[in-house]
Each structure stands twice: as structure tokens, then as C-alpha cells.
Amino acid sequence: MTLLTVELSTDIIGMLLSLVLIVISLPLIDKGRKSMPMALFSFALVSFMFSLAYWIVYDSLRPEARMPLAANEIGESAWFLLLAAVLDAVLRDRKVPLKTFETLFTLVFVIASVALWIAWSGEWVQDIVGGIPFGYFLYTCVRALRQTDALREIEWRVLGIYCVAIIAGHVGSLFITIGGKKPLDYYCIVLMFSIVIWLLIKSFVSLKRKEDPKVSMAITFSACAFGFSSLYMSSGWFYEFILLLTYITLPLMYIAIKREVSE
């Protein structure tokens, strides 16, 4: 099985999953103002689905060719902005601003991520266009985690250390051209996988324990955000594997929103 076949298969899985979630979320939309988060979520899923469809068609027509600046960047930006809007809408009454340090930390993480994307691909425009909405989504997730007290203090510290370690590893890997590059890449992959899997487990536990839906939303959305963050820092088979892990967050987000809407 070639990487291209796997790429196409994962995109098709994502597209079908989005389609199913759109269809099952539609009956929950028409219930007045309370259903706004679900309306925004299905709106976001339509954007995501079109973006995946674009990738499928592109990979089929021009396999192996790198995609230039294309319209699906707008679709992906819309996906992140709409997800951020879902969280904003739900946590509107719990406006707790982040501390200056937390805001700065998130900002530095996002800027470092975008700088790494640019260093890897050399595509300034795409990376900045995609980076701003993604950064806003990540910031909204961090704020949601703080607003809902979804993480304990020790978890915050571990998350912070992991983020620093990932960025440091990737920066190091950029400058090393000899033997140490490969182990450093694997070290980064292990760290990224650990964060995503940890947040996925936390999401499952939160939903299983039927915690406050707002808490579940903060955790599932953060799992999605960190999934995409790790995705954009991976390539090849790891990219496809993290993408599959990130897809798991879609139904989890749906369940969390459904509970919030029907509460």
C-alpha cells in the first residue's frame, strides 16, 4: 500500500465521517438560540468536508505534486474560526481572561509553530494565512481549558513542558544535518503522540463520567487543536496516523456539544 493510497483513504474516511456528523447534527439545529453551537459546528464540518474533498480530488489528479496556494486554505481557516466560535458561544458567560504569562506562552507556541511550518515548506503566504486562524483556535482552546478548570495545575505544567520540548526538538532537528537528526525527529513524534493520546483519553473519560458538558467541550476541542498542531508538524506515515487520531476527536466534539445543547 503506497503513501498516496493511504492519504486518499484517510481523506475519504474524514470526509465520510464529517458527512455523517453533519447529517446527524441537522435535527439538533432547529431548536432556537440554544442550538447555536451545533449550528456553528455543522457549519464548520461543511468547511472541513469540502476541504478534504478538495484534497482528494487534488491528490487524484496531481499525485505527488505539492499543492500551491489554493482555495481550500480559506476552507481550513473557516474550519478553525468556526470551531473557535463554538467554544466562544458556549463559554460566553464564563469570560475569564488568561493570565499574561499564559497568553504569551500560547502566542509564542503558535508563532514558533508557524515559523517551523515556513522553515519546512518555504510557503510564507499559506502558512501565515493558515496560521492566524489556527493560532486563534488554539488560544480559544487554552482559554476554555482555563475557564472550565478542566486541567489540574500539574497537568498544565506537564503540557507546558511538553510544548517547549516539542518546539526545541523541532528547532534542533532543523539545524542538525548529521546522524542526530533522525532520533530527534522520533523524539518529537513521541512527544506529539503522547499529548494527543493523553488528551484523547481525557476526552473519553470526561464524556464517560458525564462531566459538565462545557468541561468535555474544552477537553475534546483541545484534543482536536493539539491533533492539528501535531499534524502540521509531521509528514509521511506519521502524518496519516495523527490525522486518523485527530478524526476521533470529531465525534467526541459532537457528543460534547450535543450534551451542552440538550442540557
Binding site: 464548520a44 468547511s47 480559506i74 476552507g75 481550513e76 481557516s77 474550519w79 474560526l81
Partner: protein
């Protein structure tokens, strides 16, 4: 080489004159139709500029960049109308459809004048696919805005969300029909199928206003 400005004047003059003799929704539709044709010309100028400036080549510009430019250009007057005149849903949909139909008509006129209209099949495909695609993407944008306004979410996220959906849809169509094969057939069918799918929510919005 065609003189797009001259074609625009030729088509626009009778419509401009007709504006003095019609009222209500008809006048609104005709005015937005005219606006759509003007927007099409501006979008062609910008795409042409980007083609030269970026060196992407006319085919790649048409596939990857034009959908972004065209959708933004169609979107701006709709957004202006929404925020400046606070129209009801029905008026917003009429203006959106008018702008997009004007855009599609002018684009088709220029295209057919430059390539010829001898083959009826080709002309039909052009009308049923590209023509309908512009209207569908405009309708998608206006549905997005209607929903966003209904939920009091006319924020950057809501607006970019609506634009993102229409742009990606348009880009998907352009990409599909760019190379012959099964994709082209699906691409040509996509606008008309989506138009049929959008008819139900359209009726629902209109019925809700009545």
C-alpha cells in the same frame, strides 16, 4: 482577444434603462444583476494581475486563485448590503442571487464570445455547470449569513465561515473540471445537484419569513 468592457456596456445599458420602469424586488434583482456583471469584470482584472505578478500560469491561476478572487468579489457587495441596509432574509437572498447570476451571465458571454458558440452541447454544459455554480456558491454564502444572523453570530468567524464554504465549493468545481475524466462529469453535475439540495432550505427560509 475580446473587449470585455464594451460587452459590459452593451449588456448593461438596456438593464440600466429598465431600472427606471420597474419597482420592488424586480428592481432590486436587476440592480444586483448589473452589479454582478461589474464585479465579474473587476475579478477578471485582479485575476489577470495575479496571473502576471505570480507567474503561476493562466491555467493554474484559473484553478487555484480565481475561485478565491471571484468569491471574495461576489461576497463583498453582499456583505455591504447586509451591514448597510439590514435587509430581511428574502431581500438578502434576492440580492445574492442577482449578483451571482449577473456574474455568471457576463462570464459566460465573454467566454462564449472568445471561444465560439457553435457546439450546443458545450454551450449547455457551460450554462448548466458554471452558470449554476456561481448561483449556488452565492446562495451558500447568503444561507451562511442568514444562519449566522439568526443566531446572532455575524462575527468574523461567521462571515469567514460562509466565505470559506462558497470558495472551497467553487475551487472544488474548478479543480474537478480541469482535467478530463470521471472527475469532470462529477464536476459538471455538482452545481445542479447542489442547487437541487439547496432548494429545500431556500423554501424554508422564505416560508419562515411569510
Amino acid at each position: 482577444m475580446i473587449y470585455a468592457e464594451n460587452i459590459l456596456i452593451c449588456i448593461a445599458v438596456p438593464l440600466i434603462i429598465s431600472l427606471s420602469f420597474i419597482h420592488g424586488s424586480a428592481k432590486r434583482f436587476t440592480a444586483s444583476f448589473l452589479l454582478g456583471m461589474g464585479v465579474c469584470l473587476l475579478a477578471a482584472y485582479i485575476s489577470g494581475f495575479i496571473n502576471v505578478a505570480s507567474g503561476m500560469g493562466s491555467e493554474d491561476t484559473a484553478i487555484f486563485i480565481s475561485p478565491i478572487i471571484e468569491e471574495i468579489m461576489k461576497f463583498l457587495p453582499i456583505l455591504f448590503f447586509l451591514f448597510m441596509f439590514m435587509p430581511n432574509d428574502r431581500a438578502l437572498l434576492i440580492v445574492a442571487v442577482g449578483i451571482c447570476a449577473g456574474f455568471a451571465t457576463f462570464e459566460n458571454c465573454c467566454y462564449i464570445l472568445s471561444t465560439g458558440a457553435e457546439r450546443l452541447t458545450y454551450v449547455l454544459i457551460r450554462g448548466m455547470a458554471v452558470g449554476v455554480m456561481h448561483v449556488v456558491s452565492g446562495l451558500a454564502v447568503s444561507f451562511g449569513l442568514v444562519v449566522a444572523r439568526r443566531y446572532n453570530m455575524l462575527t468574523i468567524a461567521g462571515v469567514v465561515g460562509a466565505l470559506g464554504i462558497s470558495t472551497t465549493f467553487h475551487a472544488l468545481y474548478n479543480l474537478m473540471v480541469s482535467e478530463p475524466g470521471v472527475g469532470t462529469a462529477i464536476g459538471y453535475a455538482l452545481p445542479i445537484v447542489t442547487a437541487a439540495a439547496l432548494y429545500l432550505p431556500y423554501r424554508k427560509i422564505i416560508a419562515a419569513e411569510d
